[in-house]
Structures are given as structure tokens and as C-alpha cells.
């Protein structure tokens, strides 16, 4: 009975979430495109791009929540998968520039001409085709996560050890991508994009479409995560989170479950990065910075780990706060606030916003149920009393 109630309430939350995201995904682009500029309800283009960025972060947060909230794997290197997806998309966008670059080379991107590359490096081939780049957006982070996870989970690297080596992984990638001879534009990264699928990336219509697409991807990612966590597989994942050794002794191959969910999560992060790059207009190695990945973890913690909706909500709330505070007089205090957020959330709100809300609702319902039961018992008593009296 109780379980049924819980799933139904979560389902309602999930439906509400999907409806809200879909509503935003339709209404914001429409208001941006159809309403006249300066109208009260018109969303300016810069806000569409900004919110599009938040939606991408929300997808990243979902992918972290899937492994941390449901499987207990705290990855401090998810920013690496995000950035790899972003680089794959960035490479496609670079190839689309063609001869419109500063140096006008039809094949080589500007930075390669500048750095005297004789020809296109082999790993840049194929990125002129969108389908190939889209495949790589999934494949590159997925493969890295698969290899990394296969090595790590098989030798039972867990807990903080895993967190630290994921951090080392993203740090190593950060160092590598900063190098000019690595072939990804060094510390300038990839930028100055022109077209995506033949549409100008700067154009309002493209931005609105990208925003709508990001919202759609968020919904799809959310549904996928829901499907995973509510299935039997999801139950095993929760079991691994709560008692890994016990689950192994019962007979589940813990490594395979972890590997699957880790790879899936990395692919999601890659997609988020791929959507992020055309909306922001640049991808550079600072996306690999370990600090970014840890910040993404705190979005999930703020929203509530193990709730999915909370992760997305946390990403949007924290990033909105970041934009709000870093652009005003309070800018020097933003890091104090972010740091305090880390400390206070872990100390005082370990279940996050949505988790705490769910707890309240649950105890509220339980109270109401007991109250109702007591009332009905009292009524029965009231009814039965005369009988007793009889």
C-alpha cells in the first residue's frame, strides 16, 4: 500500500516535470520568435541561450544523479565526458566553417593553419559529416567510460578511491587538451563557429531550435533514467548502492551493472556537452577542470540525490544563482556562497531540496493517514459504543 503510494506520487512528480520542461521548450522559443522585441512577454535571445545552457547542465546533472543517487558511484570526472561530447560537436562545427575562416583554408581549421599543420590529423576525418559527429558524441565518452569503468569496477575500486581517480582522469585530460600539438586547438579550444546543419548558429531561429532540442533531450534523458531506475535493473542498482558486498554474495554481477549504468551516464553527459557547445559558441580545455565536475556534483546534492527531478532542478537553481550573483556587486562573494552551499547542503540538507520535500510529504501523508485511521477508529468506536452499551 505504502509502496504503491510512493511510486504513484513519484510518477506524478515525473509527469509534472516532463510537462513543465515541455512547456518551457515550446513556449520560450515561440515567445522569442513570434512576439515583437521589447514586448513584456518576449524572451530575449540572450536569455534563450542562457537558459539553454542551464538545460544542458540539467542533463549533465541527471547523468550524475543516475550513478551517484542510484548506484553510489561518485564520479568527480563527469565534466570530462561532458567536454568530450562538446569537443566532438565542436569538431563538426569547426569543419563546417570551411573556407570562411580567417586564413580561408577549406580543409584545415584556423588554429591548424596557425600552428603549421601540414594536413588534417587522422582523428579529424569524418567530422565534416553530422551523423558521424553525432555518433562520436555518444561513442567517445561512452568508450572512455567503458574502458575506465571496466578497469575500475573489475578490480573493485570503490568509494572515495574511485572519486579520486575519476578526478585524476579529468585532470589528465585537462593537461592533454591544453597542449597545442594534441590537435584540439590548445588552450583556445574550438570557437568561431558559423553553421550547424546549414543554419547560422548565431541566428535567433537556430538558438530557439537548439533550446527546444535541449528541452526535448532533457525529457528523453529523464524518461530513460526513470525507465532504468524503476525497472528491476534499477532495484539491483539501489541494492549495490546500499550494500555492495551483499548484492555480490546474493549472486549479481555487480561490475556489469555498474559498468552499464556508468557508460550510459557518460553517454548522456556527452550529449549534454554536444548541445552545450553550439549554444555557448566555444569549447576549451577549462571544461575539463576538476572543479567543474565537483560543481556539477553539488547541483545534484542541492536538488536531492536519487530523485532525478531534484538533480535537474538543482542544476538550474544553482546556475541561475551563479549567473545572478557573479554579474552584480556580489561577485567577490560568489565563491563564499558556493563553498557555503557545499558545506550547508551536506551538513543540513543531505537529501537535497526535492528529497527533503518528499520526506515532508511522506510524513505529512503518514500523519494524515494515521489521523484518518484514528478518526475512523474513533467513529467506529462511536458507532460501536452504543452497541457496547447495549
Amino acid at each position: 500500500m505504502m509502496e504503491h503510494l510512493l511510486t504513484r506520487s513519484l510518477d506524478r512528480a515525473a509527469t509534472t516535470f516532463i510537462l513543465v520542461v515541455a512547456g518551457c521548450g515550446i513556449l520560450i522559443p515561440l515567445s522569442n520568435l513570434l512576439l515583437p522585441a521589447g514586448s513584456m512577454f518576449q524572451v530575449p535571445t540572450y536569455l534563450v541561450a542562457l537558459w539553454g545552457k542551464y538545460v544542458c547542465y540539467a542533463i549533465l546533472a541527471l547523468s550524475i544523479d543516475l550513478i551517484w543517487g542510484y548506484c553510489g558511484i561518485l564520479s568527480l570526472g563527469h565534466g570530462a565526458f561532458f567536454a568530450l561530447g562538446g569537443y566532438a560537436m565542436g569538431m563538426y562545427l569547426m569543419r563546417q566553417i570551411g573556407s570562411r575562416g580567417v586564413y580561408g583554408n577549406p580543409i584545415l581549421p584556423d588554429f591548424m593553419v596557425f600552428l603549421n599543420y601540414p594536413k588534417l590529423p587522422w582523428y579529424w576525418h569524418g567530422f565534416d559529416m553530422f551523423w558521424f559527429a553525432a555518433l562520436m558524441v555518444l561513442l567517445v565518452p561512452g568508450l572512455l567510460a567503458f574502458c575506465f569503468g571496466w578497469l575500475a569496477f573489475r578490480s573493485r575500486v570503490t568509494g572515495v578511491y574511485l572519486s579520486i581517480i575519476t578526478q585524476a582522469m579529468t585532470y589528465a585530460l585537462l593537461l592533454a587538451f591544453f597542449r597545442n600539438d594534441f590537435g584540439f586547438g590548445g588552450n583556445n579550444g574550438l570557437t568561431d563557429f558559423k553553421d550547424i546543419l546549414g543554419f547560422n548558429v548565431q541566428a535567433e531561429g537556430t538558438r530557439a531550435a537548439l533550446f527546444a532540442l535541449s528541452c526535448l533531450t532533457l525529457i528523453v534523458a529523464f524518461v530513460v533514467c526513470r525507465a532504468v531506475v524503476t525497472s528491476k535493473l534499477g532495484k539491483v542498482l539501489i541494492a549495490i548502492r546500499d550494500a555492495e558486498s551483499r548484492t555480490r554474495f546474493i549472486g549479481y554481477r555487480v561490475e556489469s551493472y555498474k559498468l552499464f549504468v556508468f557508460t550510459l551516464s557518460a553517454c548522456m553527459a556527452g550529449v549534454a556537452g554536444a548541445l552545450y557547445v553550439p549554444q555557448v559558441g566555444i569549447i576549451n580545455p577549462s571544461e575539463f577542470a576538476p572543479g567543474n565536475s565537483i560543481e556539477a556534483v553539488i547541483w545534484v546534492a542541492v536538488g536531492g540525490r536519487g530523485t532525478l527531478v531534484g538533480a535537474a532542478l538543482g542544476a538550474i537553481v544553482v546556475n541561475y544563482a551563479k549567473t545572478f550573483f557573479t554579474s552584480g556587486l556580489l561577485a567577490p562573494y560568489w565563491l563564499f556562497m558556493l563553498g557555503a552551499l557545499f558545506i550547508l547542503v551536506t551538513l543540513l540538507l543531505p537529501r537535497g531540496i526535492v528529497g527533503t520535500y518528499n520526506d515532508w510529504m511522506q510524513s505529512f501523508r503518514a500523519q494524515r493517514a494515521t489521523a484518518a485511521a484514528e478518526a475512523s477508529a474513533a467513529r467506529e468506536d462511536g458507532i460501536s459504543e452504543p452497541k457496547m452499551a447495549e
Binding site: 561518485l74 585524476a168 585532470y171 551536506t346 551538513l347
Partner: protein
Amino acid sequence: MFRNVLDRLRALALAAVLIVFALPALAGPFEDAVGKFATDDFSDTEDAVGEIAGSGNPLAFPIISALQDERLMFDADSKKVYIKQRDGKAIDAATGASVDGIPDSASVVRLNNRLRRSVEAALGGLTLLSPDAATRITAAQSVFKSHEEAALPTVESALAKETNRTAKQALSEARAAIVLFKPDASDNDKLEAIATIRARGDQEAMALLTSVGTDQPPLVARAAAAAISSIQSNLALWSMVQNAWYGLSLGSVLLLAAIGLAITFGVMGVINMAHGEMVMLGAYTTFVVQEVIRTRYPGLFDYSLLIAVPLAFLFAGAVGVLIERSIIRFLYGRPLETLLATWGLSLVLQQAVRTVFGPTNREVGNPSWMSGAFELGQITITYNRLWILCFTLAVFAILLLMLRFTALGLQMRAVTQNRRMAASMGIATSRVDALTFGLGSGIAGIAGVALSQIDNVSPNLGQSYIIDSFMVVVFGGVGNLWGTLVGAFSLGIANKFLEPVAGAVLGKIAILVLIILFIQKRPRGLFALKGRAVEA
């Protein structure tokens, strides 16, 4: 008005001194040599340079350096040579007397490339006779490199009266270099020269021997080839030694940064991402101590580090106890949450330091006993690196002894091994936790004092060490100080040996990848604790 008169008097006095100085040379060969500049002929000019350089006249240096800078003028009609000084005034090159102006008909003494070389050599030769030994050595080095034959007489005369041992050696090497390239030197002289150069045994000696060429007599050529290969293998050996030294030095820095972490993470199991910030606080303590000393007690500057070490320990330790009491004790048993909370803490501490001290690097000076370097064979060892290595080992030894022989150490180990049993025996576990965390943080503070000597003191100081320190602790094995020691030095040395092969950044990436692979093989590090406690 008065000042003007004084200036004029001074100029007069100077002119008088110059005249007195120049008098003995008036009719001598020096004047004839100077006169050769006026013929506007390259070979005469070369003769003049050689003669003037060998004359020992005090005007020799100004003349030849003026020639080099194209400030030496001659008047073909009067056969007079003038030096145009940098302030625009002119003096007569032969006498040193100041003249009112250079005639309009005068023109610059011209140089060609060959002359320029002999001018440089002559200038080098002139400084060979300088009274300052360091100048003589530098001059000898430059002669060694240029091996200009014109400098040979000067080198030989300098060598004859040289008393300083280092300078003497430098001069004899310079002489050997000249002899080796002198076309008319005998084979025996050349062989002797090769032996001298071979004994020098560095990169420059090898370059010199390589440039001798093949047109030498077979005996000399063979000796040169043998010397080259001997120097080569010698250099390879020294570069190994150098890499090992750099590795030890890097290892000591890593150990210093990681040793506090080995206590908090290794002994207590608390993952403290703000550990790097404790290092930073120690470095800033040093900065504050030095500022106070600079403004109040400048005489104490050499003791600034000795004063800063206990202060940094106490300050960082106190901050550590505060953190443990206010945040970490609520998070025991939840390592992932501890990680996030301490990361947040590190952001706050960084920003706090940035607000107080500003975002830029602060200047922390080296005391005199830590600056400078000495040569050991072909490698240079800087005193600050050497001191840091000694200091690190001392801190490590003290910590080890403390854990082994003091009551607090005993209690710490007891709490680590079995918290509930320790509590049953009457140990105040929460007090021990706070003190252990304080100890780890305090040692990080001490590390900050040492690192302030070799790194930039900025709010980001700690961040650059945190990942490396974690790698050291994880690689060495958690809960074992010896593991941290071995881990730090092997990572440091491996890093420095990979660097010349793969480059600094790729070397670092390779190390990270190797550690990631290593953890697959030994998930609990090199020196893993055995037993059931590990699985908890």
C-alpha cells in the same frame, strides 16, 4: 651658480688625471698603435687591436670597446684618433685628454666580421686581467668558447700570475681551447689540450671537440673522438644523477604536501579536499611573518623561516581542529559527503585569502642560508631544494616517532584500529579525532612554509598540490606513512625521468595514467593494510 663652478672644477681635475695617466705613453709604441686606426685599412686595424690589447695601457679597454660600438673616430688629415663617449663628449684616444670636438672630417673606424671577432676576443682578453676573480673566470669561459688565437698571449700572461685555483683552471682550459684550434700548434700540444678539455667534461667541452673537424692529424683526430665519447658517456651519467636529484627534490615536495594527508586520509579515513588550503595557509603565515620582520626587526630575516614553522603549525593546526569540530565530525562514516563539504571549505578558504591578501602572488624571500647553489660535478644543487629535502625527512622522522612513542600517537593508532574498543578502554575518541586532524593540518601548514620558498604564494597554491598529494597517498597505500614516503619519492623520480623523454606535460599525464592502471592492480596501494578492517 656655485654648482656650475664645482662641475667645471671636477671636469678639470678629471682631465688632469687623464693627462698624467697618459703621459708615459705619449711617445711610446702605444701611440703608434693607436695611429694605425687612422689608415683606414682592415689589416692595420687588426694589428692595432692586437698591440693595444697587449699593451696593458688603461686606455686599451675604452678604445677597443669604442671600436666595437663604432664610437672610435679618426681624422685622416691630422692622423688623430678620437673616442666619442656615450655622453657626447670626446677624448683623444692616444692621450686620453678631452678635446673640444671632433673635426667634421673625422669618420668612424670601419669593422668587418673578421675584425669584429678579434675585437671581441681582445675585449675578453682585457677582462682576463681584471682584479676580480669572478670576472677573470667569466672572461676565461668566453675565451674558451671563442678560442680566438689573438687572446693567447693575454691568456698565457694571466695564467702565469694567476693564484686563484678555479680561475687558473678556467684559464688553462681557455688556453687549451686556443691551442687546439691553432693551426701551427704541435701534435703534442694539441693532445695535451684535448686531455685538458676532456677533463672539463661538460656540454661545452663536447661542443668544442666536435667542432675541431676532421682536417686534423690522425692522432689528434682520434684523441678528440675518444674524448668526445668519454665526455658523452660521462654526461649521460651525470644527467641520470641530475634527474635522480630533481626526482628526489620533487619527491620531497610531494611528500611534504602528502604527509599531512596521509594522516587525515590514511589514518582517520577522512578525505580532506581542503588540505591544499592548509598548505596555502602555512605559506601565507610565512609571508605575514616575513612582513612583520621586514618592517620591525630587519635583523631577524634569516630566522624568519624558523619562526614561521611553529607559527604555521599552530595556525593551520588550529584551523584544522576548528574544521573538525564544526564540520567533519558530523560527517564521519559518510566519506563522499565529507569530500564535498571540504571542497566547499577549500573554496571558502581560497576566497577568504584572496579577499585579505589579494589575488596576486605575494613575495616571500629566501633567507641567505637558503639562497644560492653549489656545483657537484656537472650538476648544480640549489640550497633551498637541499634544505627542503632535509626538512621533509626530518618532519617525516618526527611524525613517525611521535606516532610510535607518544601517548597521543598510541591513542591515535588505537582509535584508527578499533574505535569502539579504544573508547571502551577510556580513550576520548572525539578528542583524539580532533587532535589527529589538527596534527595533519598543522603538518600541511609546515609544508606551506617550505613550499613558499620554491613556489608562488598565491591563493591557488594549495590546489596545484591536492591531486598530486592524493595520488601519492593512494599510490603508497592508505594508513601507512612508509607507503607515503615510498610513493612520493617513486612518483617524483618517475616523473623526472619521464620528463626528458616525453616532455613535462605528457610525463605528468603518463604518470596519472600509470597510477590509474596501478590502482587496478593494487586497489589499496603499494603498502596495503591487511585484514578485515580494510573492507569496512
